[in-house]
Symmetry: C2
Subunit: 248 residues, 2 copies
């Protein structure tokens, strides 16, 4: 069956305390609606803003460690202080590039802190404290408002090793299992069957980006027609255990 990815137009500028689920439902009601089985992909930034995860660099006092790392990376020491606070540790550092492991376990540049519109006000945007909880809250509120049982993915734009360009991945998941297991060809020879585990949540986040593009212009997309596996789900399951990882 064909799958449709619908950009959700009409989400207003989000401010701390705003009800993102309500904004999504209102925007959807003016257009494609929300149906049971939809996957609602919400970009991280509006979730962070609604949750008040924005702050002014003026409120931050850098530690000596942040001052040192800031000099090496030619970044604002206050921004580096925030990156370190949001991180379990630095994974790689070279020139201006600073890859850290966030408190959630995600590995990305600058602990996922968005400093793209730092003006004189010095406002930056942190990742949600618990993006899985953010996804659950939005999912529950959408169900309460519409009766529709949907899955919700919080997405963010991450770089990756070996390949140029960024792609959107899932940092929060609710209402679906993030993985699907496919079993390969039926093996009539007694050989082991190949099982491939696909991270459907990341593929859904990537697919949604194709209509969200232009950064924050379309912060929400609805993926309709994808037969996800229902379940509690959590993006934390996507984080590979440190001991199993070969690239730290």
């Amino acid at each position: 069956m064909a799958l449709t990815i619908i950009p959700l137009a009409g989400i207003p500028e989000v401010r701390p305390g705003d009800d993102v689920a309500r904004m999504i439902v209102d925007a959807a009601n003016a257009g494609s609606g929300i149906e049971a089985g939809d996957v609602i992909v919400v970009t991280q930034k509006i979730v962070s803003k609604a949750e008040g995860r924005v702050l002014s660099l003026d409120t931050v006092t850098p530690s000596p460690e942040a001052e040192k790392l800031a000099a090496e990376t030619e970044k604002d020491p206050r921004l580096v202080e925030l990156i370190l606070r949001e991180s379990r540790g630095v994974v790689r550092q070279r020139g201006p590039v600073l890859i850290t492991e966030t408190q959630h376990g995600f590995i990305c540049a600058n602990a996922g802190i968005d400093a793209s519109n730092v003006g004189p006000e010095g406002i930056v945007c942190l990742l949600p404290e618990d993006p899985d909880a953010s996804a659950r809250n939005i999912r529950d509120a959408i169900r309460t408002a519409t009766g529709a049982d949907v899955a919700v993915i919080i997405s963010d734009t991450f770089g990756r090793p070996w390949r140029e360009g960024h792609t959107n991945v899932a940092i929060g998941v609710a209402g679906m299992l993030p993985f699907v297991d496919y079993v390969g060809q039926t093996d009539s020879h007694g050989y082991e069957l190949r099982v491939t585990t696909i991270c459907a949540a990341d593929e859904l986040a990537a697919a949604a980006e194709l209509v969200q593009n232009k950064l924050d212009a379309v912060p929400v997309a609805i993926v309709r027609g994808y037969p996800y596996v229902r379940g509690e789900g959590a993006a934390r399951e996507i984080v590979r255990d440190r001991e199993k990882d070969l690239f730290r």
Copy 2:
């Protein structure tokens, strides 16, 4: 605008020498057709098969190096010999996991060799020798047959560091630029604008997988409604230069 991802049913089992473009056009003509601006996402395996990149392990004599690595990874020495031939080098090795850099520059498990249906015949499937050329050939043949100017992506299923599960990525591209640059918020303060480069080709490959699933059941999907940037394009552009990479 909404984007549609259409699984292309009715592609028969592909054999060496088969005309994949013709099979795609025939299957599309029986259903959704092919329209100018479509992105045709073709999984690697049928391309490799059509190009004769299948061979029997019985024809392979392992080198001493392959014998040694096979013992360490508990793999068939003949398979390891092929992995080494297809690779510029081993990137990581631990237990049964063998991550190599392919001759194309892709970093993935087992040089991308698919040994999932190795039976007594010992048939394995290598990546296309030049997946960008494969994509160009399919694109040209589709245009000749239908008149439609489309983009073609050859996709494969790769694991990645730090995150569990595999996702589909582009290993061949023709007719579109693999990247899109987005410029962030207009900066009225004289600060630098943020530019995010998205690897649209990888996101399209991932999106297509959502309807292709079940491994080889649906080897082709059509993404309709994505305003890609026309151009020669090549998945080789996605490969990050060794010197710029922090995770080798």
